[in-house]
């Protein structure tokens, strides 16, 4: 520290306080202390509340008021920073026990020794300064000195401790007097100079000697502009790709290791241009070398990055323009590996951008074609929603090799998984295991699963399904099922064997129920529609029998069905919904 500061410290040590000094200084110190108190409140408020809170504004307003008054007394406020104190002249204007909450200690610990506030700081810099301190306290910034130095305030100045004050540096010392008094042995050169006489030729410096010409200044300004506009990450990438291309396998490995660190940063921006450049170039270069090691190296990187890239490309535009150009999207989708499959599967259901969804679906189809096992594995995912989505995609792609996995899914405890498994089995070829699984699901406790089973049967018409359906229709419990389920049963029955279904359907339409009365009108209407789907003369006969039914719902449905049969066979009449 300078001698001046030592004197001040000595004054303070000897009991200096606000009580010392002349009246003007004392009054000023008192006002500065008030300002510091207000400053502390402002700082602590920012720690306790989020940005925008009215309390922060209020306390900051008080700080500015105090400062405004102070400028009438002092041209600047210079505070010396002690371990636990802030000192103005010889007055301690802040003095608290040393600890993490001590503001002075926070400055001192990071090497700050003087803080100067100048008029003008209240126009924004002071607020920013307090924010920086609060962030520092929250641990969001690691080096307060460097942060303040980089911020380079105009009206908030800092001075920091000199390096080597603790004696830890090996500081060279000069010795001007080394050799003093000695006589130079070889004077030849000097004599030659003296004999040539005084120098008369002058280097033409001119007033512009230290100034660059306007053209030079223009050149440098342009170069600086170019430098500041330079796409740095992109250019670093070009350098790395050059290294990958021109060096040996060991260097390629090093480059890939570096890219492994670089890519997450690029993805977080997101810098689509550079990421797509990397994935394109690496794949090209790997293919160009033809070396398996190199290709595997590149693949390992793409595998590591696939999940993050899939996440990025499937994120829809949030209105901030953070979407890749089409060629960038193509590059990223083309580079994805199996590791991307779960992310894409998860993202698809929520996507509302139709065009993007189409492209993601295609990319997923391509990936599944290359890595079928990865999709199959997802049906065993712990997350039932993810497993269900995987099943839907299996169904959509017609991926029949995954049928066994769907059977497993259909036996999971979660209904969402069971339903998805059964639905998907409805799109698979009906083998014995799949059929048994679907038929068993007719008795599932969850109606959505049962419905899925009925739809699957309707679609597949598996062998033996008609018998199972008939058994359930004839059972006591059938009447207790809701009407939609009963109608679904009838549709399934027709699909399972149209002509064999006629007796049951006739019984429902024209027969008597368990208690002697006719069946419910909605069930009878459903039976009528099913008979229309069957469309045989026997079916038509049964329909005729009910043509004049007293129940208008039934009569209306029968009439529509008969009219439909006159025109078409095998399809439900329009307007007759299920």
């Amino acid at each position: 520290m300078s001698n001046l500061q030592d004197q001040k410290a000595a004054n303070l040590e000897s009991g200096g306080s606000i009580a010392a000094g002349d009246d003007h200084d004392r009054e000023t110190a008192r006002r500065i202390e008030e300002f510091v108190v207000a400053f502390l409140k402002d700082y602590r408020t920012r720690l306790a509340y989020t940005r925008g809170n009215q309390l922060i504004e209020r306390f900051h307003g008080t700080v500015l008021d105090k400062l405004h008054d102070l400028w009438e007394l002092v041209p600047h406020i210079t505070l010396t920073i002690d371990e636990g104190r802030l000192i103005w002249r010889e007055f301690a204007v802040y003095d608290e026990p040393i600890g993490h909450d001590n503001l002075a200690f926070m400055f001192f610990r990071d090497g700050l020794r003087t803080l100067v506030l100048l008029p003008g700081c209240e126009q924004g810099e002071l607020r920013e300064f307090v924010d920086i301190l609060a962030n520092q306290r929250r641990g969001r910034s690691s080096d307060l000195l460097a942060t303040l130095w980089h911020r380079d305030f105009s009206f908030v100045r800092i001075e920091y401790v000199d390096a080597g004050e603790d004696g830890s540096l090996d500081i060279p010392a000069g010795n001007r007097n080394a050799g003093a008094g000695e006589t130079i042995a070889d004077m030849t050169e000097i004599e030659r100079v003296v004999s040539a006489g005084p120098v008369t030729a002058e280097i033409d410096d001119g007033f512009n000697a230290i100034l660059l010409s306007e053209a030079d200044q223009g050149y440098l300004q342009r170069e600086m502009d170019l430098e500041l506009e330079r796409p740095l990450a992109h250019d670093v990438t070009l350098a790395l790709l050059d290294q990958f291309e021109m060096r040996d396998q060991e260097r390629r490995r090093q480059v890939v290791d570096v890219l492994r660190k670089l890519l997450p940063d690029l993805l977080s921006v997101p810098d689509f241009a550079t990421v797509s450049l990397i994935v394109n170039e690496l794949q090209l270069l790997a293919n160009k070398t033809g070396e398996q090691d190199t290709q595997e190296l590149v693949l390992s990187l793409l595998r590591d990055m696939s999940e993050a890239m899939a996440d990025l490309v499937s994120a829809e535009d949030e209105g901030n323009g953070s979407r890749p150009a089409q060629h960038e999207l193509d590059a990223l989708l083309g580079a994805l590996q199996a590791e991307a499959i779960p992310t894409l599967v998860r993202a698809l259901p929520a996507m509302t951008d139709f065009s993007l969804r189409e492209q993601i679906e295609q990319a997923l189809a391509d990936l599944v074609a290359r890595f079928p096992d990865r999709l199959r594995e997802l049906t065993s995912a712990e997350d039932p929603v993810l497993a269900a989505e995987a099943a839907r995609i299996i169904a959509r792609l017609g991926f029949s090799a995954a049928a066994a996995d769907l059977v497993g899914l259909a036996n999971r405890p979660e209904s969402v998984a069971r339903r998805a498994g059964i639905e998907a089995l409805g799109f698979m070829p009906a083998d014995e295991v799949a059929t048994t699984t679907v038929l068993t699901a007719l008795d599932d406790e969850d109606w959505t699963v049962r419905k899925a089973a009925l739809e699957a049967i309707t679609r597949l018409a598996p062998h033996g399904a008609a018998r199972e359906l008939r058994r359930r229709i004839a059972s006591r419990g059938f009447a207790g099922r809701d009407e939609a389920e009963q109608a679904a049963f009838l549709r399934a029955l027709v699909a399972a064997g149209p002509e064999e279904a006629v007796p049951e359907l006739s019984e429902l339409l024209n027969g008597r129920g368990r208690w002697g009365g006719k069946h419910a009108a909605i069930v009878r209407a459903g039976a009528a529609r099913a008979l229309a789907v069957v469309g045989t003369p026997e079916a038509a006969t049964e329909l005729n029998r009910a043509k004049a039914d007293r129940n208008s719902t039934v009569a209306s449905a029968v009439s529509l069905c008969l009219r439909h049969l006159e025109q078409n066979v095998g399809t439900l009449p329009d307007g007759v919904d299920e």
Partner: protein, 473 residues
Amino acid sequence: MSTTEPQHGVSTGVLTAMYDAAKALQLYPIENEIVGRSLTELQSRVTEIFEREGGLAVWVAGNYMFVNDIQVRLDLADYAALSALREALRSHGIGRIEFLPRVRTDDWVAFLTGLTSATRPGIQPLEAFQARLSDAGVHRIVVGPSTALFSGGEDSDGIEAARRTYAYSVQVARETMNGLVLGKAVGAQRAERAVLRVVDQVLKDRSTMMGMLTLRDYDDHSLIHAVNVAILSVALGQHLGFGKQQLFELGFAALFHDIGKVLIPTSVLNKQAFLTDEEWRLVSQHPDFGLLIMFDMEGFEDPPYRAMLSIYEHHMGAHLNGYPRVIRRRRQGLFARIIAITEAYDAAISNHGRQFSPCSPDEAIRQLLHNDGNLYDGVLARAFTTMMGVYPVATVTILDTGELGVVVAPSSNPNALSRPLVRIVATREGKRIGDGPIRDLTEVDPATGHFVRSIARSANPQRYGINVSDFVA
């Protein structure tokens, strides 16, 4: 002039108008139209400030200039003009100028022509200037000396502070490189602190910091070289008008420009004879290694891409005819071009080259200037020359009086690049002096009107047993 022009623009505007008018007065007769226009522009700028703020005061503190207590931020476009103005004020010992209302044209003429006139030796420059204004009847422009900006905290011993900064930088460079060699995780915080100290020291007192280039007290030449290149690069950046943040980035890149050499065996690095093809192939990959190694440094808020590129490109050559080879189209960046020059200069003057002896600083400057533009950016090479002067700090010189001297600072007179300040280290009779006097080579003999002393030529310090760092560091 827009009344909504930002404050910064108004402050810079009045200072550049002052410079323009001073230059016009120097180049043309007072009746010339150009002079008239420039004085009118100046008056207009001053009037605007009076209307805005009620007064105008300009002051200089260290490397900073203030207009009405607002620091004037220099950028590249106006740096040359404002730095010339600042130097002119300093040369006359002027630290503060207060302008009273209604300054007349005659007042401006007297003031500005005074600024551009040479100071007279033997007379206190500020007193001489004040007398000149008084003789000319100028009462509305009041000049005064510099005042300290702060009440405490300034280091009065510039050399001591520069030495500490230098030593700290060497230590940090050593720790970083040792850490990387051992494969340890290396944090960036200490390196950042070293660089910001260098930047602050150069901004505060460039000449003294440049004197540290002569320190050769450390065994590891690579560390000295790294720190020297950092100092030179920051100094050149300052000379070009770089902002503080740009100076930091440049200094950081320069400090670690050769960091890739940690992966090259010392037996190859320190080999005094010519390198074999294989050895050269290895050494020439140090930029590649450097790029990759920088990714191992931790603790950055943002990755130091600009430093990485500078490290990678610093041997590429202005026309990409250097190394490493370029496959994907690029340009050698501005920072890399600066480092190429400063590195070449330090390598030329240092004693750890291979079969070559180090050359004198002025000879190194000449070599840079006479490059055909393939390796070094010609504009930057000239800028470097004008920053260093014809005889850079630490040049040992033989004066035409027969005295031996060591250049300790460039001339404060921008007209006299070849007339630096020189400390006499040996008399005409060849007797060595310890703490010899400092002579300003712009000093003129009033009887003859000739310069008292001039540099006849530079000299090899080893020939005369002179340890240059004793006098400048």
